[in-house]
Amino acid sequence: MSASAIIFYAISAFLLGTGILAVTATNIFRAAIWLLFSLVGIAALYFWMQVEFVAAVQIIVYVGGIVILIIFSIFLTQQSGKEMPKPPLQRTIFSVLAAAFGLALTYLLISENGFTDGNGQPFKVAVSDIGMQMLSTTEHGYILPFEVVSMLLLAAMVGCIVIAMKSKQNNLPSPKNTEELS
């Protein structure tokens, strides 16, 4: 077993282990931290696969963005350190079964499929290539999805602002609202 393989298995074990902890930890704050580790592990996997750009994006967006967002929202909605309620036993059982079954099935199918490795070409990803291709309108250009995503982000932003903004609407005399709140 080569060193690279050992590194791979180590990373894998780490990210899966932290992933499991992230979904089982009873303390929500700890869970968020485990998630953070797991995401970092995934970034490491990307590094291992020599797709540094993606790894970078992963760290910037996830670790730097989403997890922070999540932690903030935890602070907003919850006292940290409080134990989270447990799901009903029945659901836990079914969830375990479902997840185990899904994993078994999927992996069975994957391993039976017998992927033939690529034609041996070196896989080199230069960040500039990605940038060029992203904004190219010609062959293999990704300008259109890029623009679409930007529109999506705009819309998401608008949505977030409207929803999460402390609404002054409560002051409006509206019979429906009082009815709903009561």
Binding site: E139, P145, L154, A155, A156, G159, I163, S167, K176
Partner: protein
């Protein structure tokens, strides 16, 4: 080249333009809601009208975007639907604080749908799908202070995130087994091996989630019930229609090699959808929830039509969706009026509705009859053609079960009609004055319900644009 670009992308560009125009208006000085809504409705009408000028076949961005007359037609249907919804929600939005934001969200989802329909690539498809969902979840929360509204939004976003995770997993497996994301290249690489079938099932579940086919439908009723009426209408009509349009073309084109598999799958799904939708619909009291289940059952019929996988199948699905737009929106039009003015959304509130609001009663009755498939409304033609298409493969027993399920669906539609016309009520909903916008929308819907069926040119036109498997 540039002219092509504009012509091919005209609908998307118009929508984008409107979005930015609205942003500028938002950033400018405050205007009264009435003015805003007037402007917006006019813009939406222009948007709808612009869809009819100069369209042509073509591709852009290297398969990322393609269009043809059928796709233009589909987008026009969506444009029409959003215009109608906008007209109907006048009463609700008149007092709302975030009118422009609401339209920003809706229009961006519309844009997402346009790209999704035109997508020639799984990435574009995925982006379009997400773009048509995420802002909608935000929009579902637009009754900001209503608990149900937030709950609905939460359910929508979590369910859709879950489903898109599965969908993505499926896409990744497809990518892994075929090496391509381009829809037109997919058939050449598909060989119906188990992993591909599994990937297909995951992708299918993503579609099925959006069109709320059983067993992927569970979010539907809750979200429909909780979301504001306009959003519910939008969800049940526009977003569903858009995904169905894509679904048909993806199935018929990209997944052609798997036809044997998905044909049977669709049949099972369609029957399950019809039956479960009906079974749940018969005991609902909330009008929106009721329509949610009824729309689930309708989707079952649509799936049946798709499974016929012929030119008739494509045509009848699109035809039916057009009719469904009119019928469902006519019903939602009335509901949104009543909901906005009286805050009542239960079927039992509608008892003796006819004594106070005969016109609205007739509108909703015609709409329900059309949904039930009673002639001379267009719904009859739609259902007839769908089942005819579905029978092309000779599964008459199943068609028979579906046809008998129409009887069950009849029951619950008639239950509403019964409440409106026959039941007595101490305090029926008082007379509602109908704003002109809503009136216009209702007239268009009713006219559509009547004309679309009887005038065969509509169907023949759609048929001429369609293609089978």
């Amino acid at each position: 080249m540039l002219a092509d670009f504009f012509i091919l992308l005209k609908q998307e560009l118009v929508v984008t333009a409107i979005i930015f125009l609205l942003l500028f208006i938002k950033l400018g000085k405050d205007r009264s809601n009435e003015t805003l809504l007037g402007i917006i409705n006019l813009l939406l009408f222009l948007n709808f009208a612009s869809g009819f000028c100069c369209s042509q076949d073509g591709m852009l961005f290297n398969d990322m975007f393609h269009t043809n007359p059928l796709i233009v037609l589909e987008k026009n249907i969506l444009n029409l639907a959003i215009w109608l919804i906008s007209l109907q929600s006048y009463s609700w939005l008149k007092t709302h604080k975030h009118v422009i934001e609401f339209y920003l969200l809706l229009l961006s989802t519309l844009l997402g749908m346009f790209f999704m329909i035109s997508s020639g690539n799984l990435l574009m498809f995925y982006l379009g799908l997400e773009m048509s969902t995420i802002p909608l979840a935000a929009a579902a929360n637009f009754d900001l202070t209503k608990r149900k509204s937030s709950e609905a939004a939460m359910k929508l976003i979590i369910s859709s995130a879950f489903s898109s995770a599965l969908l993505l997993f499926g896409i990744s497996l497809l990518f892994g087994t075929t090496g391509t994301l381009v829809l037109t290249e997919l058939p050449a690489h598909l060989s119906a091996n188990p992993l591909q079938i599994f990937a297909f099932i995951l992708v299918l579940s993503g579609f099925a989630f959006k069109i709320s086919a059983v067993p992927f439908h569970l979010w539907t009723a809750d979200v429909y019930e909780g979301a504001p009426v306009a959003v519910t209408a939008y969800l049940s009509v526009v977003s569903k229609a858009a995904v169905l349009f894509v679904f048909v073309s993806v199935l018929y084109n990209a997944f052609k090699p798997l036809a044997d598999v998905w044909y049977n799958m669709l049949f099972i799904l369609s029957l399950a959808t019809i039956i479960i939708g009906n079974l749940f619909a018969i005991r609902q009291d909330n009008f929106k929830r009721f329509l949610a289940f009824s729309s689930i059952a309708q989707v079952g019929f649509i799936l049946l039509g798709i499974s016929g996988s012929s030119q008739t199948g494509t045509a009848s699905v699109i035809y039916f969706i057009l009719i469904y737009v009119f019928s469902n929106l006519a019903a939602f039009g009335v509901i949104s009026l009543v909901s906005a003015v009286k805050g009542k959304e239960n079927i039992s509130d509608y008892k003796a509705f006819y004594t106070t609001n005969p016109l609205l009663s007739w509108v909703i009755t015609i709409a329900l009859f059309s949904l039930a498939g009673v002639p001379p409304t267009a719904g009859f033609f739609g259902k007839f053609f769908l089942l005819t298409a579905g029978a092309a493969k000779g599964n008459y027993w199943w068609i028979g079960i579906a046809a008998l399920n129409m009887v069950v669906s009849f029951y619950y539609y008639l239950r509403v009609v019964k409440a409106i016309f026959m039941d007595s009520n101490e305090q029926p909903i008082e007379k509602i004055s109908i704003p002109n916008y809503s009136k216009l929308a209702l007239i268009i819907c009713v006219a559509g319900i009547i004309i679309t069926g009887l005038a065969s040119c509509v169907y023949d036109y759609i048929y001429s644009l369609s293609s089978g498997l």
